[in-house]
Symmetry: C2
Subunit: 317 residues, 2 copies
Amino acid sequence: MPGEFELIARHFAALTPARGGVVLGPGDDAALLDLPPGRELVVTVDTLVAGVHFFDDCPPAALGHKALAVNLSDLAAMGAEPAWALLALTLPEVDDSWLAQFASGFAALAREFDVSLVGGDTCRGPLAISVTALGHAPRGQALRRRGARPGDGIYVSGEIGAAGLAVRQRRSEITLPPVLAAHAAQRLDYPQPRVTLGLALRGLASAAVDVSDGLLADLGHICAASRTGARLDLNRLPLPDGALDVASHDSLLGFGDDYELCFTVPPQHAPTLRALAASAGCAVTRIGQIEAVPGLCLVDASGNVRPVAGGGHDHFR
Amino acid sequence: MPGEFELIARHFAALTPARGGVVLGPGDDAALLDLPPGRELVVTVDTLVAGVHFFDDCPPAALGHKALAVNLSDLAAMGAEPAWALLALTLPEVDDSWLAQFASGFAALAREFDVSLVGGDTCRGPLAISVTALGHAPRGQALRRRGARPGDGIYVSGEIGAAGLAVRQRRSEITLPPVLAAHAAQRLDYPQPRVTLGLALRGLASAAVDVSDGLLADLGHICAASRTGARLDLNRLPLPDGALDVASHDSLLGFGDDYELCFTVPPQHAPTLRALAASAGCAVTRIGQIEAVPGLCLVDASGNVRPVAGGGHDHFR
C-alpha cells in the first residue's frame, strides 16, 4: 500500500495544470508561489464533512468538484482570479477507485479555471475535505461585503433554491417531480462557481457575497457589513420551474448551497451591468434594492411589505 | 447560541495580532493579503484528527498550540517567515470553555511568531482541526528537501524521540519513569516549531525537512529528493535522558511528532553553523553525513554499519 505522501501525488499531480507562479508544487514541506506584481493575495478555506455537508451516497466525483467549487465561489465573490489550491483530505480508508473518481471531479473543475493543486495533506479519519483556495486581484480592487449604499440595486446570479430542494428530497421531507428532482440534484452536486461573473463585477459592484448559507442570510451579511437594510421583491426571485409548488418563498430564501453571487450595483452602473450580463455565462436578475433603514423587507406580488428576521443555514443553530 | 460565523471571530479575533500585510481579515468571503515585495509565498496545510493525531484527553490548549505548531514547523523547514493562518475547525458541539482554551493555546503561539489569523471555517462534525499557514521568503532563498550533496553533514535540532515515547506510554505500551514521562508529554503536546533556526539556515543549509514522521522517514525524504544516501551515527543522536532504557534506537528513529528540523550543511559552512547554533535557541547536533550511494546506513557505537529499509509514521500503513 502506498504511503500517504504518494496518495495525493499519484491521483492529482497529472490531473491539475501546472500554471504560472508555481515555484515549487507538492512534495516538499510547503509550496512556493509567486504572486504577480501589483496583486493582493485572496485566500479562503472551506471544509465539507460527511453527513453534514453531503450525503453518504454523494458520488465521489461530485464531492471532488464541490470541495473545490465552494472555495472558488468564495474567490468569485471577491472578484479574484483563482490560481492555486491545497487539499486536506481525511479518509476512513484508502480506496483507489474512490480516490480516482474524487480526483477526476476535482481536476475537471481545476482545469476549467486553471487552478493548480500545489500541496495538501492526507490522513485517516472520518471523511472530510478541506480545501484552501488562493487567488489574486489587482491591489485595492477586490469586492467586499462592505460597500453597498441605499439605492443600489440587489442582483443575484443564476437561480436560487434548487440545491436546497434536493437536500429536502434526499431527506424525504418533500417529493419533487422527476424533471425538477434531476435539476435540483445536479445543482446540489455540481455547483458552478461564478468566477467569470465575479471578475467582471470588479469596478462595477459595490458589494458582493456568495450565496452559500441562503439568500436571506448572505444578503444579510452585505447589509450588516454595509450598515444598510434591503428590500427584496419576491416575484422577481429567479426560482427553478415548479419550486413554488413544493416550497414557500420563505423556505427557498433560507436554503443554502446555491453558490451563486449576490451583489449590489449603484444605479449609474446598471446599464453596464445589463450589457455585461449577456456575456457572463449565467442569468443576472435584479431582485431588490438596498435601503437606508436596517433590516430586510419582503415585497410580495400584491405589493405587500413585511419584515423578516433573517435566516439561512447555520451548522450550529 | 451564536452562529458559526461568530464563533471564530469571538474567540480568536482579539487574540491574534493584526500584523502588517492584512488588507482584510476574517468576516468576508476571503482574506486579502499583501505580500512584501521580492518575496515568494510559502503555504502549507496540516490536519489534526481526534483519535488519530491526538488522544481524546489532550488538553484543548495543547491542541490549539499543536494545530498551529505543526504548520509553523513546515514553514520553518522552508526557512520561511510565518505571517498568516487560516483555521478550519470541525467540532462535534459548541463548547464555549473548550473553544476558549483551544483559542488561548493557538493564540499564544501565534503571538510568539507574530502570526495573524486571517480567516477560517467552523462546522459541525467529528473533531478535526485543519490549519493553513502562510509565510514568505526572499525569492529563490527558501530551503527545500532537494539540494543535499555527498559530504554534507546531517544535523538535527533539539532532541528526537520523546513525543513518540509519550504516545507509547498513553497507549500503555511502555511505562516511563516520572521525569521522562513529564518531559515526553510536554514534547508531544507542545512541540516548538524551529522558526528562528529555519530562518538562520537560509544560505547555509543545502536541504531541510521537518521531523514529523520520524527521523529516518524524513531524512529519507531529503535523500530521495536529493538522489543521495546517508549514514547516521547512532551514538550521536540527541535522545532524551533514559530513552534507551525503554526503547531501541530503531524505534526512536521511527517515532513521529518531534517537529524538529533535520537539515544538511556543506562542509565549508560547518564553522558558520557552529557559531549560529549557540544563538538558535535550541541544540543543533551533527548526526551523520550524506553519501553518494543511495540508501540509509546506521553506524553503532562499535563502528558496525548496517543498512535500514526506511520507516517512519504513515497514517495509511
